[in-house]
């Protein structure tokens, strides 16, 4: 698999920001198995790490999956190789956000329920997914 | 200092580091010839007086090689060597003497590469440091 230069750099940045080493992962899939929102996450954690292992960091940064992780840390807690995917996802989001691209535009979030959602959820959501 | 060649006395434990040095040889790995190997049965059998003797008599460095912790052929000799080394370093540092002329390294029988690299690294390190101040300064 050809690895472009920028993708190598991206991987380096992701590893640095997350403090994780993607080659530690042996693709057992435990993170995906245990992810409480694994069905909705695309790619699911193990596949996301696989993309990084294969040098496909740009594809991962473009994906939905990284925005779905709610940082519940179940994957990292149970990972037999002590890889914390939540931190990898965080690093990916940070890289996107730092290029000034918001995932969620606060103005577009609407709905009658918004009145009753605890504000911590808004702060968290916008901190995680908006510039 | 161009013609300065560091002299290193090496104490190699019979079971791991000596065998590792043999493996470096069998694999034809080249390393500088500055180290004179002395085969001892165990790193736990290297007395600090040997190291001091070598240093005071003009060696520029002393190398000690033993089995990795947990792998000692004699159960725990390398753990004892490690404690001796802690004491030795503490005494040297308390006196303001360089303890980086004395290297203790764990090198197994399978680590020929590591042996060759370590001796190369140590020789280069001592080359950079220059001759041991001990040999001249402690004479008349």
């Amino acid at each position: 698999m050809a690895t472009s230069r920028s993708s190598t750099e991206l991987l380096e940045q992701i590893e640095k920001l997350s403090g994780q080493t993607v080659s530690d992962c042996y693709q057992c899939g435990c993170c995906t198995s245990g992810c409480p929102i694994g069905e909705a996450m695309d790619p699911p954690p193990s596949k996301a790490v696989r993309l990084l292992q294969l040098g496909e960091a740009p594809e991962l940064l473009d994906s939905d999956g990284i925005w779905m992780c709610a940082s519940c840390l179940v994957c990292g807690t149970r990972c037999p190789r002590a890889v914390d995917y939540a931190r990898i996802a965080e690093a990916c989001r940070v890289l996107v956000l730092r290029s000034k691209q918001s995932r969620v535009d606060p103005d577009t979030v609407t709905g009658p329920e918004l009145e009753e959602i605890p504000q911590q959820a808004f702060i968290a959501a916008f901190r995680k997914s908006s510039v | 200092m161009a013609d300065y060649e560091p002299k290193i006395v090496g104490f190699l434990c019979n079971w791991c580091t000596y065998a590792g040095a043999d493996l470096a040889g069998t694999s034809r790995m080249q390393y500088p010839p500055n180290m004179r190997p002395i085969r001892v049965m165990c790193s736990g059998a290297v007395d600090s007086v040997y190291i001091l003797r070598a240093l005071l008599e003009g060696a520029d460095g002393v190398f000690m090689g033993g089995c990795h912790p947990g792998d000692c052929h004699y159960v725990s000799g390398n753990y004892k060597a490690r404690r001796r080394m802690v004491l030795f370093n503490s005494v040297m540092q308390s006196l303001g003497l360089e303890s980086d002329r004395v290297w203790l390294r764990w090198i197994s029988a399978a680590e020929g590469r590591k042996f060759a690299d370590t001796i190369t690294e140590m020789t280069e390190h001592l080359q950079k440091k220059g001759p041991s101040p001990f040999k001249e300064k402690w004479e008349v």
């Binding site: 940082s71 840390l73 807690t77 931190r87 940070v94 918004l114 504000q119 911590q120 702060i123 968290a124 | -």
Partner: protein
């Protein structure tokens, strides 16, 4: 009466008043006092795990510095605040982290005087007060109410930083419920995620994650759920319409308050969804 510096956080002043009010009043009943920290600021709501993102930690650092001037312990109640403050505190005082720690401290004017132990209210109950002492204060035992204790993710993980309880099968809240006279049920989803803040833009995801939690609690025979996180409470309680059949979700402080004799109007039940009053009456607890 021992006084503790208390950090309520924003949600406890608004949407989760029912978590906070009972906590303060119940504390006095069981023998300690929560003294609210003056001029606290937002904790940030979520911990930023990127290794270089120091700016995100400034808010919590300021809170911790202020708290350090008041004492060596800081009590939290909201699971999110607890998670953030505890993790930032860890970052400040972890050996080997001195350089970063010093940098962080330079961001705020307040002097960080000493390491502050960030304690969750439940930890205060267990470690500082003790179950036996609480048991003595129970005037209205909960009559064997079958409750499933739901901890969520934020107070148990990461385990080595939070040092709260077993992250797979935590027990603290179960123990408390037992002391209060309830019958905690087994429950396999004690520490699974409810979907958290995804409810803001991915309501569907939060709904399905919450449904699994509620389903499992009901499968184990739970009549009610207790929790300590406003967001968990919201996702489980307000979103429960999605589940077939209702099961009330209380804050543990509400049941604590009830058991130690707070009056009905002190429990903040009006902030819960459904008919919690009717439920408690049907169980003979009101």
């Amino acid at each position: 009466m021992t006084k503790y510096t208390y950090y309520p956080g924003c949600t406890l002043y608004t949407k989760a008043r029912n978590l906070d009010i009972c906590a303060r009043k119940a504390a006095e009943k069981v023998g300690f006092e929560l003294v609210e920290m003056p001029s606290w600021n937002c904790c940030g709501a979520i911990y930023n795990a990127a290794s270089d993102d120091l700016a995100a930690q400034v808010g919590p650092v300021r809170n911790l510095a202020k708290a350090s001037q008041l004492g060596d312990k800081l009590v939290t109640l909201c699971a999110a605040c607890h998670n953030v403050l505890k993790r930032v505190q860890n970052r400040l005082d972890q050996p080997g982290n001195e350089v970063e720690s010093e940098r962080l401290k330079t961001f705020v004017d307040e002097k960080y005087e000493r390491p502050v132990k960030v304690l969750h209210y439940l930890e205060v109950l267990k470690q500082e007060i003790g179950w036996d002492n609480i048991k003595e204060k129970v005037t209205k035992p909960l009559g064997g109410l079958k409750v499933a204790s739901y901890y969520g993710c934020l107070i148990v993980r990461p385990k080595e930083v939070l040092e709260f309880d077993d992250p797979e099968n935590p027990q603290v809240m179960d123990d408390l419920m037992r002391v209060l006279g309830a019958a905690p049920t087994r429950f396999d989803f004690k520490a699974e995620c409810c979907g958290g803040y995804l409810v803001v833009n991915r309501r569907d995801v939060a709904k399905s994650a919450s449904k699994k939690i509620l389903d499992n609690a009901k499968a184990w025979g739970a009549e009610a759920i207790v929790t300590t996180c406003p967001l968990c409470q919201y996702n489980l309680d307000k979103l429960r319409a999605v589940t077939d059949g209702s099961i009330p979700v209380f804050y543990f402080t509400q049941l604590l308050g009830l058991a130690v004799g707070l009056a009905q109007d002190e429990l903040g039940l009006e902030h819960n969804a459904g008919d919690p009053v009717g439920f408690l009456k049907s169980k003979g607890l009101l």
